[in-house]
Symmetry: C2
Subunit: 343 residues, 2 copies
């Protein structure tokens, strides 16, 4: 049985869900895919880091993290001074980079991934930042080091998007797409449809853990724009940053506008779109009224949806319903399996 | 450049669209996938058949077929006496089986595919019959002969379903699915929503070529049931026939029922579903009222949709909008590419 040594940067809900999913799927990974994953390093943002080349006790790591305690005590090596040094020191085969996103720079995740690739690791991330800001550079670096850089969970969590275009959609030309890619704003608008005003909706979103403490990145459309950039750069040969996406957030939506749309049988949605034109890629994120005959109409709550227009398939839609940390963790696992089988 | 010799059984709209798509994508097939397809045999239901091991003049074949003329004159070999003999005689690498479906037996398509596999060809089909009625047998025969049996276009035309589960969805357990898989009935119900009665809707469907001359297989739910069986047998380890799917067609839907649903903001849809239970697979095809918060609600016209419930992804939906013969042809082409690259 081939052992695959994993290092995790970031150990929040997604990192913990990944550890649990690896355990839940260990038998099929061993038997069907012929490898056994062991976690040998975990680096957190504010609760220390630990490396044990023989394998960390992940149950203990989860307990410590949930109790808000430091992981350093689990380490059998001298403590690295930084996350970069952690990556350079940890003798892993694969790095999972799940640090918080920076919409405007993609850092420090991009540097983490560069360090991993240069250290001979494959790099897998759920972080949109490096995909939107440094995709071409990271793929070139991965190729140079004969390693892979995969990021299925960066857009629509674990729903297969990037692997769909690498695999089941050969010989296609992607002309454009439209979709609902930010679940927070989708939920906020729905709460306003139910009669809450904007502030009440945001407060409720915070209370159930859907809305970030600082929800500006969602509300102003940055999260949607970075996903548009990621899709364009990977699937349409683009080189655009989130700043270059024409962007309008949802803060201009009033309860009156939302009710008026409902009266005419329509709904406001924060619509992402991109299309190839003679002038290059045209991209936008903006609130639009959608009618019941649109596939965007019934995308509720934290679900997300994208419809691709291909030369060979006029409309191929992918819907992800009710995602959570486990869903994101599945995208990371699928990437790991694809690294191991070269898919 | 590796030449790949193709034989086509069935030369209707889909067969012709495949020939045209192969020409349109020839450059990418040559350059990216390293093979060059040539069509060396075409067998039709009622307009003869032709084999030319050096490559048929496909433009002539299309012209003859569109003029309702016989293809025999294009042949450089002695004329086979049957389609089975055509398959045995034609020195092709891949057979595309696109004869009309038989919902209750899967024949003669299953025998065509068996003959192809036994003759050393890969077999690709858009025909649901063999997938629902003989999947396990045909896969075993393909394995024995070290050939492939692929059928992406059998359900939802060219939308990636089967290849999605072979590729981007590793290590998942499929618990069930629900969807709208028959485009004819979906359109008929929509026409009734617009005020037509059942007979008028069927007549209109026939006038625009969506409804078959004998629409019973659609209206009584057989087409939907055979697709449910195909999905269950391939993706959920089932061994069910269309007859075993609990099936209710749409002929009991009255204009009054349809209008009453609309008044309450709902729509009737012919819903396909399957789920794993402690008693085995439970499957059904039946008209159901769906609410606007269902992803089935906005599936219009001839579009189709399926939502999979996986252990790792609570709801993964695939929508195909506005399909046509070109869409089906793309599924066949994707299968051909996957045969050539072993995917």
């Amino acid at each position: 049985m081939k052992e695959v040594r994993l290092a995790l940067v970031g150990f929040g809900n997604v990192g913990k869900a990944l550890v649990q999913l690896l355990d839940a799927k260990r038998e099929i990974l061993n038997q069907e895919f012929g490898f056994n994953p062991i976690i040998i390093g975990i680096a957190t943002g504010s609760h220390g880091m630990a490396i044990n080349p023989s394998g960390l006790e992940t149950h203990k790591a989860i307990s410590l993290s949930e109790e808000g305690k430091n992981l350093d005590s689990l380490s059998t090596l001298a403590q690295p001074k930084s996350i970069i040094e952690f990556i350079e020191t940890c003798p892993a085969d694969v790095l999972f980079e799940n640090s918080p996103v920076n919409h405007h720079t993609g850092q420090p995740a991009t540097d983490h991934i560069k360090t991993a690739l240069q250290s001979g690791m494959h790099a897998i991330t759920a972080n949109k930042g490096p995909v939107a800001h440094a995709y071409k550079e990271l793929v070139a670096l991965a190729d140079k080091n004969q390693r892979r850089f995969l990021f299925e969970s960066a857009v629509m969590d674990g729903a297969p998007i990037f692997s769909l275009f690498r695999g089941p959609l050969p010989a296609v030309e992607l002309k454009g797409f439209q979709g609902i890619l930010n679940s927070c704003t989708n939920l906020l608008i729905e709460l306003m449809e139910q009669g809450k005003d904007f502030e009440e909706a945001v407060d409720y979103g915070k209370s159930i853990g859907i809305t970030e403490t600082d929800p500006a990145a969602d509300i102003e459309g940055w999260d949607a724009a970075i996903k548009v950039a990621a899709l364009c750069n990977v699937l349409m040969g683009g080189s655009i940053t989130p700043e270059q996406v024409k962007r309008t957030g949802i803060s201009g939506l009033t309860p009156a506008m939302i009710q008026q749309a409902l009266i005419t049988g329509e709904r406001w949605k924060l619509v992402c779109s991109a299309k190839q034109t003679v002038n290059g890629l045209e991209t936008s994120v903006e609130p639009q009224r959608v009618a019941p005959n649109s596939p965007l109409y019934s995308v509720n709550g934290t679900s997300s949806f994208v419809q691709f227009e291909l030369d060979t398939l006029p409309g191929l839609g992918i819907l992800e319903s009710n995602p959570g940390p486990k869903t994101t963790a599945y995208g990371l696992l699928a990437d790991l399996i694809n690294v191991m089988r070269g898919a």
